[in-house]
Amino acid sequence: MRDTLNNIGLPLLAIAAALALFGVFVSLSGVNPVDVWLLLFKGAFGDWFSWQNTLQRAAPLMLTALCVAVPARAGLVVIGGEGALVLGGLACAVAAQSLPLPEGPVGIAVICAAGALAGALWVALAGWLRQYRGINETISSLLLAYIAIGLFKHLVEGPLRDPLSLNKPATHSLPEGLLIGGMGGSDVHWGLALGVLACIGLALWMRWTASGFSVRVVGGNPRAAQLVGLPASRLILTACALGGAAAGLAGAVEVAAVHTNANVSLIAFYGYAGILVSFIARHHPLAIIPVAILFGGFGAAGSMLQRRLGLPDASVLVLQGIAFVLILASEALRGVDWKTRLTLFFRAAGPDPLPAGDQRS
């Protein structure tokens, strides 16, 4: 019970504090913080139009957050989701171009699978390097992300470039029949459904299956996992591959639903924002869904802040940075016994039989 309260209360407190600090920050540049808060809310959740924008941004965030969350449950800090996303998008575009695919759901499933596969292999590589070469996965996944982005730019501007894309190099556009459309006539594409399904599916997997449970054992207590003879390396590789597949899928969805081809707009920091989302959700797949919607909302409101109040487009990045720092700092409050603290505080404030300065904690 107290754990649940901590798990939900502390992140909420941290986000509220982050919004307050952000208000102070923007007021330094002469903008009324109340305007900013109202606009953040309106731009994110104010009307149906904002909701559509928010949900569209939440879809890739959910998937890239899973790329952090699933390996995190196996005890790894993987932060290279951006690389898996970028390569997933590229693989999706390449599959659509080079395979004779039927139009419609089957073809879309194949190109999404291609994206997921590319992402899975890329992040599994980081896991492999850790298990079999002893390389810290945080560093290797990040290096791999930079390599992936370099590869992506090279291929998009070189061998895979559509000669017709003059100003902005891009691959050939996907045929009409392979594009992912909106759900029920809205602008919100089916990628959101995929994201939610992936979160639910992975939550069920971790909670109710033997392999999912084993992954959590490996992450929670490697020694115990060793004692009961769990195949740690295989489980860690599985977790990495699943996470990478989610991020790769995010790239494929972005290509098939938003950009219609692979170009540099795909590199939009979703991979890095996903890290934040996963940490706030405490690496719990179900909690990722609301957190991703919240941060998708901040992203959607960001352009509004820029247009209406003239704030730089980086203001959302500042807000995210402050939120991340406070979320981590709030971990320090986790072990605090509030009841005792408050009693002590009130006793100290009221008539106190003890002499001042005798407050031992």
């Binding site: 290797s140 791999l144 980086a314 940075g321």
Partner: protein, 306 residues
């Protein structure tokens, strides 16, 4: 290729090793100082970007590049101090904090640096080492940042101080065995906060050389992950400041291959050659790390080396 092209390519790479290597040297020294105290600072990327912006802003507003250098060092120190303080809290993971500070530092730099994208700031004067040569390519390649000698000196002083001074030994003790430091009555957290802050200031000098020497202007793509590569550089240099010099020169040269080829008239694979430093880092990690054992020379308390 003609001989002229070869000269252009070669001097491009050497010049790149000197120009691009300078920020590498400072960030790797900063990271080395931090890691010697037993803490990893992945947020050095944010420190680098923020200090690059602060240095440019300082130089632009005051008209003196040296005020800019100072501003860069201070901004870097401040952000790193935040990292140090956060990591001292109970239950706060230093890797995650690093990622958070990467985001915060970059965000703050982009936000505050918006008005600085257009203007020109006074630059750090260069030392012309290439006056002996007739070739203009060689001459321009050997224009050396005045901060580079400072960095070299700093590396030597740090290496000496780690071995021979009281503070150096204290720092290493906090990094190798927190229990030993505590048993002698020193506060490990304080030592680490100080080391992280000083490391941030040193890295801030790297940020200053980015915006005030080469490339010499402020834009949002100013750093391409040098702050992160620093972590790998320090592993490569086996936590020795002296070896950081060679590592920085190697990585600077590797990063300069793409632009050097371009200036020699070969445009193919520009982005591929730009990934050479990252590939090189990975290869080095593959060669130096062994599963189940810590890297040679690593501080015992370092979470990333376990």
């Amino acid at each position: 290729m003609t001989p002229d092209q070869w000269i252009a390519l070669f001097s491009g790479i050497v010049g790149g090793a000197l120009r691009v290597g300078t920020p590498f040297l400072f960030v790797s020294l900063g990271e080395c100082l931090t890691e010697k105290s037993g803490r990893i600072n992945l947020g050095l990327e944010g420190v680098l970007v923020l200090s690059a912006m602060a240095a440019f802003g300082g130089a632009y507003l005051s008209g003196s590049p040296w005020v800019g250098v100072l501003a860069g060092a201070l901004a870097g120190g401040l952000l790193a101090a935040l990292h140090g303080a956060l990591c001292s809290l109970k239950g706060v993971n230093d890797v995650a904090t690093g990622i958070a500070l990467m985001m915060l530092g970059t965000g703050l730099a982009f936000y505050l640096g918006k008005p600085l994208i257009q203007p020109q700031a006074p630059q750090i004067p260069a030392i012309a080492l290439g006056l002996w040569s007739d070739s203009s390519a060689v001459r321009s390649a050997l224009q050396v940042n005045m901060l580079l000698p400072l960095g070299l000196l700093l590396a030597l002083v740090m290496g000496w101080a780690f071995k021979h001074t009281r503070y150096g030994l204290l720092l290493r003790m906090a990094g190798d065995s927190a229990h030993a430091a505590r048993a002698l009555g020193y506060s490990v957290a304080t030592i680490r906060v100080i080391a992280t802050t000083l490391g941030g200031m040193v890295a801030g000098l790297g940020g200053a050389s980015l915006t005030l020497f080469y490339p010499g202007s402020w834009n949002e793509g100013i750093s391409s992950g040098q702050g992160l590569i620093a972590v790998a550089l320090v592993i490569f240099a086996r936590w020795s400041p002296g070896r950081c010099i060679g590592a920085a020169a190697l990585f600077g040269g590797a990063g300069a291959i793409g632009p050097a080829l371009q200036s020699a008239g070969i445009g193919w694979g520009y982005h591929l050659f730009n990934t050479v430093p990252y590939v090189l880092t990975l290869v080095i990690l593959v060669l130096t790390c062994k599963p189940g054992s810590v890297a040679q020379g690593s501080p015992g308390e370092l979470s990333s080396a376990r």
